[in-house]
Symmetry: C2
């Protein structure tokens, strides 16, 4: 679970997702909600998934936009945990 | 309410606060909470104040840390609205 993925594995995992892009050692996606309260609620829902997975993305709320940055700091890069959480997030977006 | 403050006014307002610093056209403070759920709850509480004030800071949650960036985009700089919201936030921190 905590093993860094190779770039080939990252490319393959990214190809199976939509809206996420790689930025260095992280994957990033920005969601645009319909209002600031909706953005807050989405951030809270992401937080719930993150706490359950014990894997905590950076969450940036800018009015209606929520930008999530996922990386596995303990592994120094991207792992399957990042892509698993990205899929869980996409399922509630 | 929507008039840009002068640098002298900004300096005076900052001197009356603790923990906030100026970064360009914004004031910024990072709060460290005791856990990720506590950070989420704090972000939600800030969001409630922001919505009531119709003034929306950038809210960045990084595990236990919440960084707030306040600026009045419509004025192109800092206004009394930023410092009023900063004081409200400090009161719940």
């Amino acid at each position: 679970m905590n093993e860094r993925l190779t770039q080939a594995q990252i490319d393959q995992a990214l190809a199976s997702l939509s809206g996420w892009s790689q930025q260095g050692n992280a994957i990033v996606r920005t969601f645009t909600l319909r209002s600031f309260p909706a953005a807050l609620a989405f951030a809270a829902a992401v937080g719930h998934l993150a706490e359950r997975a014990d894997h905590h993305p950076d969450i940036l709320i800018q009015y209606k936009r929520v930008t999530l940055t996922l990386s596995t700091h303990s592994a120094g890069g991207l792992t399957v945990k990042d892509f698993a959480l990205a899929r869980e997030i996409d399922a509630i977006a």
